[in-house]
Amino acid sequence: MPVIARDEIFDKVRQTLVDALSVEADEVTEDATLTGDLGAESIDFLDIVFRLEKTFGIKILQEELIPRDILSNPEYVTDRRLNPAGLQALKQSMPHADLSAFEADPDIDKISDVFTVGTIVRFVESKLRSAA
């Protein structure tokens, strides 16, 4: 599979989000969060995953993008917050995400803030690299 330049990946991710969420292209910035800024609901993630698979010719498992097994594992969650072991597990399973803000306040109800446009772009980049 040929390597695609990051700008091209960003443009295609932007178009995917414009189509899936009916937002304007200029709203889809690197730091925009999918749920907070772009108004995505949980059901939209199913749609976005399908669109990304089609656009980039990749296969995405649900657990790769959203590690629900970590967030629902009682060993990793204390009072609805990820404990240090949970944060470590999350970092390993989401190398494409910038978790610095979440680490400061690891409230699992705020995990959706981790999903920025940049997170999706880096995720696609890593999938394309591993498929190359």
Binding site: A20, I43, D44, L46, D47, F50, R68
Partner: protein, 162 residues
Amino acid sequence: MRWIWIDRFEEFESGRRAVAVKNVTLAEDHLHDHFPAYAVMPASLMIEGVAQTAGILVGEARGFQEKVILAKIKRAAFHRLVRPGETLRYEAAIEQLTDSAASTVGRITVDGEPVGEVDIVFSHIDQNLSGTEFPQENFVFTDEFMALLKAFRQPAGQKVML
């Protein structure tokens, strides 16, 4: 009130595509209100017809083990009105199917003439809403829906046992 917006399957290729038809008739009460002097098949009910065609296709692909729920209408476009006396043809195809969801594309025609396109994402809800308990029985695929598929698969001339 019955909520079946397809009359018959005409084609059914497991896991791939299905075609169902719906006859539009003035015996349907709602057409007299939509609109009083000019009956038109509501676009929302054509979306429902495509969703039922595609939903049964998606459900059958997993042996009706999943509760298949319409999650999102990705796109719905309509090009012309449909009037009583016409027969709608709903053609649905599975684009993507995973453990948790499915994506379908649908085309609506009357006598080969394009009426609309409806693309849908379905969710297998038991796989998506972790922690939420649903009844064991599959409340999505009622006997009435299953009878449509049985009728299609039954050799011509045989009685359909409901």
